[in-house]
Structures are given as C-alpha cells and as structure tokens.
C-alpha cells in the first residue's frame, strides 16, 4: 500500500498500527483504522468511485466530505452510503452504484454519445407515440434510477430515540461553534454541541499546525466545561419553537438515534461548503475542490495524484498548493482567479489528463483543484423562517434576520481569522446562555401557575455582538464553457440555459424541469451555481433570481431512526390470557385483540339463546362523566332528550357528526345525582372522547363536566340468556335482581362475586335477558371465573364476538360503521322517535332536519333471501331488477342458527324500503338472487319479550 500514502504526519486521523481489510466490487483491499471508505480507495489507487445517473460518466471524489455527490456507494445491505464520510470497518463489503454491468466497463455510458439529444426534460417531449409502447419506455427510464439496492430481507437496523432539553444546542463544532459552546457552558447553560464529522475542529482539522493546536485546545476545553459533545451527528431539522431533530450515528449497538431536543437557543455554526466550479469536464475524476485535497492529505495521509493544476481564488486554494507540495505532488500550474486567471476545460477519458486554461495554455496533469468560493448552508436558518440575502461583494449568501432564539456564528455569519471567529463564537455563546436563561425563567413560571410570580421576568438580552466582516471574493460560478452543475442529477449548465430559454425561467421552475438540486445533497453544492447560471441566462443578478427554499431534513435521516423502536400497543382485556388458554380464536378489532369464537360460534349462539352465555366486552368504550352539567352535554351530543333520566336508569342514544352522519351510539346510565357512565362503540371510544372534550373545551368551557375515559379501567362482561338472572343472583347479595326491582334499561351499583363497586345494567344487544357487569379491571378475570364456576350446572359457556354478531343481527340491531357508513345520516336508522327535532339544539340537527324533510335518504331494513340457504356477502349490491342501477347493499349477513335461515340487514333506497318489496341482489360471483324486505328490523322476537322478561 503504496505510493498513494504519504508518511505519517501530525493531524492524520488514521492509525497505521491497525490495518483493516475490505472489499471493493469484490476485490480485497486494505486500509487503516480512521480511514473513510474513500480515503482507503484512493490510497489503493482507485479514483473512479461511481458513475453518473443519466450518462453513466465515470465519477471520482469531488469534495471528499459528507456532501460529495460522486462517492455514494453500497455497503452490504445498506444503499446510498456516503463513502467520503463513512469510516472504514474491517470486513466491509463496498460496491459501486449506478454501474452496468461493471464500474470499469459500463454499457450505459453509451448514453454519452447521444447526450446531445437527451437534453433537460427530453422525456416530456417524446415517447408519446405509439401510446402502447409508453409502459416499455417507462420501464427503461426506470432502470436509470440512481442509488443503491434495498435488500428487503436484511435484518432491520437498530434504532432508538432520546429526548433532550438543553439550554443551548450548537450545530457545528468548528472554532466558532466550539467557542460558543464553551462560553455558553461557562455562563452556566446546559449545552449540546453537535458536529457532523467524526471529530471536532471543523476546517481547523485540515489547517496548519497552529490551527490544529487551537482546535485541540478548544475541544479539550469544551469537554472539560461539561458540554455534551455529539460527533457524527447532525441537527437535521429545526421546527416550531426550537424543536430540533438531531441524528446521531456511530453509537455502539445503535445504527442511528433520533434525538428530539427542545432547545432554549439554537446556535447555527455550520461553517461553509466549498462550491464546485462549472466548466467543461468538471466532473472528471481528478477534478476536486481545495477542501477535498486538503482533507485527504492532512487527515488521511492520502496523495490524491501526481501532478496538479490549482485554480485558486481564495486562501483555501493557496493552502491546497502548500498541502499538495508537502505531499509530493508536482504543481504544474497555479491559476489565480483573483488576478483574472481561469480554467476552461479538463480533458481525459476516465480521469483528468490535461487542462486547458483561459490564456490558451494546455497543461498535462492528473489533478485539477478548484477554490472558487463558498456556499452558506443556511438550511437551519431557512427552517427558522429566515430568508438569507446575497452579498455580491463576498459572492455568497448571509443570514438576514433569524428569529431571536436562533443565532448564527462562524463562517456562516462572516469571515475572519481564527481569533475573530472564536471571539464571535464566544460572544454568541454568552448571548445564547443569557437568552436561554430568560426562556428557562418563562418556562418555570408557565409550569408553576399556582405560585405567585415573585421575580419579574429578566430583560431579553439584546444582540450587541460586533458583526463578523464580509470578506471580498471574486464571483466565480461558471467558466466560459459549460459543465455539470448538479452531479447527482447529471444536470449541466447548458441544460439550465436551455430550460430558461424554453421559459422555465424562475429558479423553482428550472429546478422542477431539470431536477437540478433535487438529488441527495439537496442543493448544498448546486443551488448557488444553479442560481448564478440562471441569472446569467436571464441577464439578471443573483439577488433578483433568489434561491429555492431549503426544507428539512438538513441531511438525510433513515426511516428506521425516525420510526425508532416501533411501539404499537395492542389492547386487551384482563381476561384475554384466559381466552387464549381456552381455545379462543383471536380477532383484531381496531387496537384490540379479542376472542372471535371458541370453536363453534353457532353452538355458542344456541347455548346463549337456550341457557346462559358470557362474553368479554371490555373494548366497549366507557367514559365516566361527572358534574352538574352532564345532561347539557348529553343533550348536545345525542339526538334524543336527556333531561329526565332518573337515577338508576340507562338510555340508548345516537350521536351525529355536524353533517348529520351517524357518528356513534351506545347507552348512558345515571349512577348518581351528578354521575353518569357513557358507553360507546368499541371502535368509537377514542373518537367520542375527543369529540366530547372538543365541544366542552372549545364551545362550552363554562359547563361543569369532567370526563374520564375508563374503558380499560373496567372489565366488562355481558351475562346473557334465559338463565342469566339465576346465575347472577348466586353472585350478588346487595343487588335485587327481581324483574320488578331491576327492570330492563336500569342500572345498579353493587357487589358481584365479592367485588365491590361493580356497575350492572340490564340491556339487551343480543336480544336475551342480559346484564352487563362492569368490574374494576383488576378483578375482571376473577369475576369471569366465578361466573363460570357458579353457572356450571346452568350450562354457562363463554361466547365470542362472532356469536354476538349473529345474535344482534337476528335481533336486527345495527352496528355503527358496518350497517351505517360515512354517508349515512341519522334517519337511515329508522329511529325517528330518537331524533328530537323539537329539542333546542344538538350536533347535526340542521342536517338531520333537512334529511327528514326530504325523506329521500337510504334506509336500513331487515332482509331475508328467498332461498334461505343463500347468504349474500356483506357488500353485495342491491340493484333494480335486470339493470346495474344500484339501489343499496347488504351491510350485514349471517346464517341464523336460531331461525335456521339466512338473515341480513341492508341499506336501500327509500323506494324499495317498504316491507314486502322483493329485492335483486348481485352476489360476488356475479349471479343474482332475490330477497324480501321484512316488516321489523328484528328477525327474531320482534316484540322483545325475551329481553324484557
């Protein structure tokens, strides 16, 4: 390994004592601990790291940092790894992306030959005829999708999340960022310093000995001052009120962690990003920025080539000359952009061989280094609402007016010596600590309302920092030739000019038409060059053209990190383990898992109809309502009247949304003078709670009602069947279950199986005599088992959801959301007596009044197929005979073991809702059958004698 490494020197981050092996496209190579993938590849003499998206041109390292658009690789099962940033690991399996069939020999590079026809947006202009071939064209275009390969069977990444509440977060660990963090910490603030690279220091890391000494001093001081330092971490997003998303990588056992931080003050010290130069051949391997070679030489001991032309317009370019010479690279020419020198073209096939200068010289070289200026990574400021402004003198953008809990410092804010940057950072850190103190004060007084405010709020510290100067820099964006502007999207300056000529002449339109700045670096390298080329094409200034808006995230963040460990709760009643131990078939119902049946739902029906059954109905939504104004709330939410509900009674109610559509239904019982229990459908529990709270909090904050959701606080068991009274009598001695003492639609509170505070009400969803018992959930399983033990001689058996569905259908009870839908207004139910239009007001009333007066809405009816063995599928359509005109649909259907025939509920047009009407039903297999509309909703016991008994 080789003449591509230079001797050990201070500042190098590689550890030559720890060699590592890895593979590159199957080839075994060696590197050192501390290498990035790219530095190790270059050290092995490999200069082509990938191919471009459209023309499959060979590409090599350009900036050699995280934003390098040309060094995205596949590492094992992980696509799109930034090889200039990712540290080498022993045994790593690295391969190039966008190559076909191989990196060296790529057939799609033939696209270069037809490149003159593949102008920006060419696909919008062709492939329209013949239309039949477009899917084929589209498939071919799809194969040009850039990027790596997702291994769908790979083990999922390990991710987690963390919350943090630092006073100050500093984004960027260069000299200004470190100084800011240090000053803020010394002023007493809790500080988190977030650095994108693997070490603190920023550009000082590839500077001279003095720079590195200063970096080391600050890094040591920062840690000593108790600043929490995160490296290989990025502030990826800034949201309302300094809610920050921080991605942290490189943790043991964790692939990527999302830290969600609420910061008092955010300091943006993101530095600057070196901008590539646009000229012919600017994407050839061997063309690099000054920062790239300085990093490679100083930090990784890599000699990037043998003979260099350096085009410099700033001190970074000058420093690159020094670094290259020190690394033993021959300097073939230094072209000074400040003195009017310019580069016109780079030539070569797979890397730079020769460079043409503006003065006509043609110089042989294998490296062309450019130092033409900076892009300000203002993303976090954009996300804060700032719109950075362009300074033509400095040829870059600067922050304008960020909100006062966001402060900018360092290269982002201006130029200066290291001392000046550190001084500005210190002033920023002090200001941030002072402002964070005020924020903290506010928060403390917000959260302790009960305490009288004794200390007046401190004054908001004014920003009195002396600004950093804006240095002057030649405006160098494009040479006299055209070249690549967006490397990852293969968009050239010529494409941009053409797009502008065609009328896509605002920065957003040109972006959308050419896809410039839309690739993985999201414009960090490309936006300013795009704007400059567009300004030139339009004869405008860069200020006039303006930039695109930078949106979150600042750097891509993995879906795994955003998701974290997936915590999707499964809800279950306290009896669920018993069900599972007793052969219950589970069913997922919304968030709940519950027993569907215990083997034979039809025999469960028969047992309940003939003897007694028990069902666990814990998912039933339950809200505890207390306060003098509960009747007002019930009157508002339900369509019927709740003024005269006596204590000890329950009542059925129907709820509508504001559009009159059925929202939910259930019974509510009055337990005490100002104490009620409301039940909702299982799936509607959260909706109704939200709904009630919303009306209370936004429309009627004066009403005295307190709502407590108690769905899981109470285990609910329905004891149903002719023998249910007899069973329950054995288990309670303080509730009189006599038919007259405890009538249908009444509620009692008492002891069941020795468990106090049980709520028992007598209703009949199944159509049988039945008691719903709500037990404090800790005793739910106990009461369930007691019921089974004490009812053994009565033949008690559990039944599941399916049996309940059959019985309620036999009884003709509709289910909100199954027999009604998002279009069903309340009159659909046929419960006109419950729609109290004379009542003052209730949610949905105007719509329901209209619907009633029109009377043309669909109706729920009971339907029995002519052939009793045919069970039409739920959703089977009801049509006018002999046509496809839809008149309704079957909403529920089952074979009834009680009646030994099929029974259905249907929603039908009012014209065919009359009892006795014959309906035509289209079955799922396309055949048609007939059915009869019934007199009553109830197929079974329409008089209700069983449940009232």
């Amino acid at each position: 390994m080789s003449n591509h490494r230079i001797p050990d020197a201070p500042g190098q981050l590689i550890n030559r004592d720890v060699p590592l092996t890895f593979t590159w496209n199957g080839r075994r190579l060696r590197g050192y601990e501390g290498d990035t993938i790219v530095s190790a590849l270059l050290a092995n003499g490999i200069t082509i790291t990938g191919r471009s998206m459209k023309y499959h041109r060979p590409r090599g390292p350009l900036t050699a940092d995280y934003w390098d658009p040309n060094t995205t690789v596949q590492v094992g099962d992980e696509p799109n790894v930034r090889a200039s940033h990712r540290l080498l690991r022993d045994g790593m399996n690295v391969s190039a992306q966008n190559v076909w069939p191989s990196l060296r020999f790529d057939l799609k590079s033939a696209n270069r030959l037809v490149g003159r026809f593949l102008t920006a947006g060419f696909y919008y202009k062709t492939f329209m005829k013949p239309a039949a071939l477009w899917p084929l064209y589209a498939r071919v275009l799809g194969t040009f999708a850039p990027g790596g390969v997702v291994d769908l069977d790979a083990p999922p990444p390990r991710n987690d999340k963390r919350y943090a509440h630092p006073d100050v977060v500093v984004a960027g660990g260069g000299p200004a960022g470190m100084a800011a963090a240090l000053a803020a910490a010394q002023a007493g603030a809790s500080v988190m310093l977030v650095e994108h690279e693997h070490q603190l220091g920023g550009h000082l890391c590839w500077g001279d000995d003095t720079d590195r000494a200063e970096a080391a001093r600050l890094a040591h001081a920062v840690r000593a001052a108790g600043v929490e330092v995160l490296t290989d971490a990025t502030v990826t997003g800034r949201y309302e009120d300094n809610w920050l998303a921080i991605s942290q990588r490189g943790l043991p056992g964790i692939d990527e962690r999302l830290i969600k931080a609420r910061a008092g003050v955010l300091i943006v010290a993101a530095g600057t990003i070196e901008r590539p130069y646009v000229f012919a051949g600017n994407d050839l391997p061997g063309v690099m920025t000054s920062g790239a070679v300085r990093r490679l030489i100083t930090m990784y001991g890599v000699k990037p080539g043998n003979r260099a032309v350096v085009f410099t317009a700033n001190p970074s370019g000058d420093a690159a000359v020094v670094a290259l010479e020190a690394a033993g690279v021959t300097i073939a020419a230094v072209v000074d952009g400040r003195l009017g020198g310019n580069v016109v073209a780079a030539h070569g096939r797979n890397r730079v061989r020769r460079v043409t200068l503006a003065d006509g010289r043609r110089i042989d070289s294998d490296l062309l280094i450019t130092a033409v200026g900076w892009t300000t990574p203002t993303s976090l400021l954009n996300m804060s609402g700032d719109r950075p402004v362009y300074d033509p003198e400095a040829a870059r953008f600067f922050p304008w007016c960020p909100p006062d809990n966001v402060l900018a410092t360092g290269g982002l804010a201006g130029d200066g010596t290291t001392e000046q940057l550190v001084a500005h950072g210190e002033a920023t850190g002090l200001l941030a600590a002072a402002r964070a103190g005020v924020v903290r004060h506010r928060l403390q007084h917000l959260t302790r309302r009960a305490e009288p405010v004794t200390t007046p709020e401190p004054a908001w510290p004014a920003d009195e920092r002396p600004p950093l100067p804006h240095g002057s820099h030649p405006a160098l964006f494009r040479s006299t030739t055209h070249g690549i502007v967006d490397y990852s999207e293969d968009v050239s300056s010529k494409d941009l000019v053409q797009a502008a000529d065609e009328g896509f002449d605002s920065v957003e339109l040109v972006k959308r038409f050419t896809t410039t700045t839309m690739g993985p670096s999201q414009g960090k390298l490309e936006t300013v060059n795009t704007v400059a080329v567009l300004a030139e094409a339009r004869g405008e200034t860069i200020e006039q053209v303006g930039t695109t808006v930078w949106r979150p995230p600042y750097a891509p963040i993995s879906l795994g990190a955003l998701a974290g460990r997936i915590h999707e709760p499964v809800r279950m009643s306290s009896i669920q383990p018993w069900h599972e131990a007793h052969g219950a078939q589970p069913i997922l119902a919304g968030q709940w898992i519950r027993p569907n049946h215990y083997g034979d739902p039809e025999s469960e029906v028969r047992n309940t109809r003939n003897r007694v059954g028990i069902i666990d109905i814990t998912p039933l939504g339950k809200l505890d309502l207390q306060g003098p104004d509960v009747p007002k709330l019930l009157n508002l939410l339900y369509t019927n009247s709740w003024n005269a509900l006596p204590q000890g009674a329950v009542r059925y109610g129907l709820m509508c949304a504001e559009d009159g559509v059925v929202l939910d239904d259930g019974v509510t019982g009055r337990l005490g003078p100002e104490h009620y229990l409301m039940t909702t459908t299982s799936s509607g529990a959260a909706t109704v709670w939200n709904w009630a709270e919303n009306w209370l909090q936004t429309e009627h904050p004066d009403w005295q009602v307190h709502i407590t959701p108690v769905t899981t606080g109470l285990t609910s068991i329905n004891v149903a069947g002719p023998d249910s009274r007899q069973l329950l009598e054995r288990l309670t001695n303080d509730i009189d279950l006599g038919p007259d003492a405890f009538q249908y639609m009444q509620v009692r509170t008492g002891t069941v199986a020795g468990v106090a505070n049980c709520i028992v009400w007598r209703i009949g969803f199944t159509g049988e005599l039945s008691y719903e018992v709500h037990v404090p959930s800790g005793f739910g399983l106990f009461v369930w088992e007691q019921l089974l033990v004490h009812g053994q001689d009565l033949g008690v058996a559990p039944f599941g959801l399916e049996a309940q569905r059959i019985m309620r259908l036999e009884k003709g009870h509709f289910i909100v959301g199954q027999d009604t839908d998002g279009l069903s207004k309340a009159p659909v139910t046929g419960l006109e007596t419950l729609l109290k239009v004379e009542k003052d007001d209730w949610v949905g009333k105007p719509e329901v009044v209209w619907a009633l007066s029109r009377g043309d809405g669909p109706r729920i009816v009971a339907v029995q197929p002519t052939d009793p063995t045919v069970v039409p599928e739920e959703a089977a359509q009801i049509v006018a005979a002999g046509t496809n005109q839809i008149l309704g649909r079957i909403t529920s259907s089952r074979f009834s073991p009680t009646l030994n025939r099929s029974v259905c509920l249907a929603q039908v047009h009012p014209d065919v809702a009359t009892p006795g009407t014959t309906l035509t039903i289209v079955l799922a297999n396309g055949t048609r059958t007939t059915a009869q509309v019934m007199e009553h909703h109830a197929h079974f016991d329409p008089e209700g004698s069983r449940l009232r008994g």
Partner: protein, 437 residues
Amino acid sequence: MRQTSPVIKQRRAAKYSLGGLIRRGFSKESWPRVWREPEFGSHYDVVIIGGGVHGLATAYYLAANHGITNVAVLEKGYLGSGGSGRNTAIVRSNYLTPEGVAFYDRSLTLYNSMARDLNLNVMFSERGHLTLAHTDSALRTMHWRAEVNKLQGINSSVIDPAEVKRLTPSLDVSENVRYPILGALYHPPGGTIRHDAVVWGYARAADAYGVDLHQKTEVLDVLCTGGDGPEGKGPGGRVVGVRTSRGDISAPLVVNCTAGWASTIASMAGVRLPITTHPLQAAVTEPVKVFLPTVVVSGSLHVYVSQTDRGELVFGASVDPMATYQMGGTLEFTEELASHVLELMPGIGRMRLLRQWAGLCDMTPDYSPVMGPTPVEGFHVDVGWGTYGFKAGPVSGEQMAACVANGRVPELIAPFGLERFSRGDLVGEKGAAAVGH
C-alpha cells in the same frame, strides 16, 4: 360523454416529438418558449385566479372546447407552485359513490389521453393501485367499493394477501405483525403521473390558444358592484374585475381556483365559503433501484407510498388536524410516517428521508368540492378539493369551462354547488375520501 373537440385551432407551439429532439440535437437550434411572457392586459373576458392544474385546465378547455381565448390566468408565484406541485401525483377512479366513480373515471380518461391531447408526455404510469385492509371492517369497505366499481365497469377487485405479495413483494403480509394485511382493493388502472408535466402541458396548450399566463401576479382584491356588502361586494352584486399587484384588470367573469387560499379570495368578493385550510404533509426518500411496482395505500396506517421512476419513495398521509396556512412541516409527521411505512415494509429501514414539505388543502364539511356560480354574478368557484384536487384536475377544468362558457351548470358538477350548504344537501364523499389516496 362528450370528447374534447377543439373548436378553434391556433397552435403556435412547436410540436414535441422524437424527431424534433433529434433534429435539434444536430442543429443546436433551441426549442421555442414553452409559453409566452405576455403583456399585462387591462381587460379579459375571463380571469382565472390560480395557476395550478385546475386554473390552467379551465383556461385550456375554455379555449379548446368553447373558443374563448381572451383569458388571463393569474398566479401569485410560479405556475404549479401550490398544491399542483406538492401533491403525490396519484390518480385512480375506484371511488365509493356512483357519482364519484363517474366523475373520477372521466378524469382518468382525460389523463390517459393527455399526452397526445396536449403533446407533452405527462408520464402517466398505470401501475396499479392497492388499498390495503388491515381490519375486518376495512376489508368490508373494500368489498363494498369493489362491488360498486364492478357494476360501474371499473376494473377493481378485492385480492387476498398472497396476491398482494405477488404484486408487491416488499410488503409484509405475514400474520404476526401488529396490523396484518388481510387483503386489498386492487385497481389496475390507477397509478401515478408527473404532476409538473400536467401543469406545463395545460399551460403550454392554453398559451398556444392565446391565453395569457401571468406569473408573479398576486390578486389583492376582487372588484364588484351592486352587492349588499361594502364596496358593492357580496350577494346580489356582480364581479367587474380584479386588483392585482401589477394593476387592475376588468373582467365580467372571474373564476377562483386557489385551493388553500380559496376562502381568502372568495371573501374579497364578499362570498363566504364553508372552507377551512389544513396542511397536508408529504415526504420523499433518497433514490434506490426500483423495487415497488404499485401504488400502496393504507387507510388504517394513514399512509400512501409509491416509487417514482427516479427511484425515490414518495409518501403522503392524512391532513394535519389543525387549520393553518403554515407549510413548514413537522417532525412528528416524519416519525409517524416512518413507523407506519416500516410496519408495511420492514425491509426499508435503512432508506433515508430526503425532503419533507406540505401543501394547503381547502377542506369542506362534506369533503366534496364547491363548483360553479356564487351569489356574486360572474364570480365562479372551483374550490374545496381538499386532498384530492390533483386527481380531479382535468375533469374539473373541462366542466368549469363549460359552466363559465355556457352560463349553465353541467350535470356532472351539479351536486357540488355552493347552495347545497344552505339547503342541507351535502354530498357524502366523506366516507369515500376517508379511505385516502
């Protein structure tokens, strides 16, 4: 259904074709401007506010179907800068109500022939659309939609998990996940389209007919006379023009196609719309090689996803619960999105989110649009599209053009009149729309 048949032909635009690309590749001759930068006129027969797909399609069909070309489209930003450029570009016609099916099927027909009609490849990718069911009740709704669709002649059916897996191998159809996939509604004609291209296609074709497209032209006021309110605005009056950031325009007909800003613009004419504006967020990942061949929607998990031909996954979700004009996007959206997507496709946890954004949706109480005339004579609206305006763009433009040109409300959009809110005649699209995209 009447097919588009141009009444007049005034095409000045150069024809886009492979031949043209090759010829210009050799000759270096450049393509002419896609649309003109027109002079700012002081009078138009029709002014359309909003340069998105609805506004531009209306302008195009006014010219193409009705010969009305003295038309201005006013756009505050650049063409397609609102919802038209922010949506996730999914089109389908497997709606729930017969009215919805008929409407969107017409839209899909127009999308299908759009590339040829407008001579611009809108990259319609008829890749199949899957709406996943994770619960019994969702599966029941899928069956319902399928049965309605079959009777309407729409290609749509319920498929089982094995078939879901065959069509989309990246989906986890196993039973031991939190929200197992029990089946899906499969709609082969559904797919994606390049939304920007639709905007440009209509803009270019409208411009070729002589329609003036004014970008960076903000409407500051709608000028009225004779109305009950101040300055002659409000019911009983009529519209006489608009005041813009570039000057006044007189026009007897003004069409409001401004989506998220619909209620703001309407209030300038003294017209109150029952509309609130909510952001709808979306996000896109870094590109990877194509692995997701279909459009996948999960109502239960509030997410829809497709992969572009550039290799990016595009995600959307449901609207934010709070009414706001803020388009910043939230972190919580990306977290929830990621966890739901990984529930469906656990193999993509290493893919990275590249960009998030939001668009503004004009939500009505019944999730149905408001189309047609208003109590201010000459002031028309095509608003209230909420989360599915893009799918309806072509047919809305066609119908609104007919409405404006003929002074009669076409049958297809009659249910969507503003007066329904005072007649109790809401359209129940909510149930259909609630299942997402």
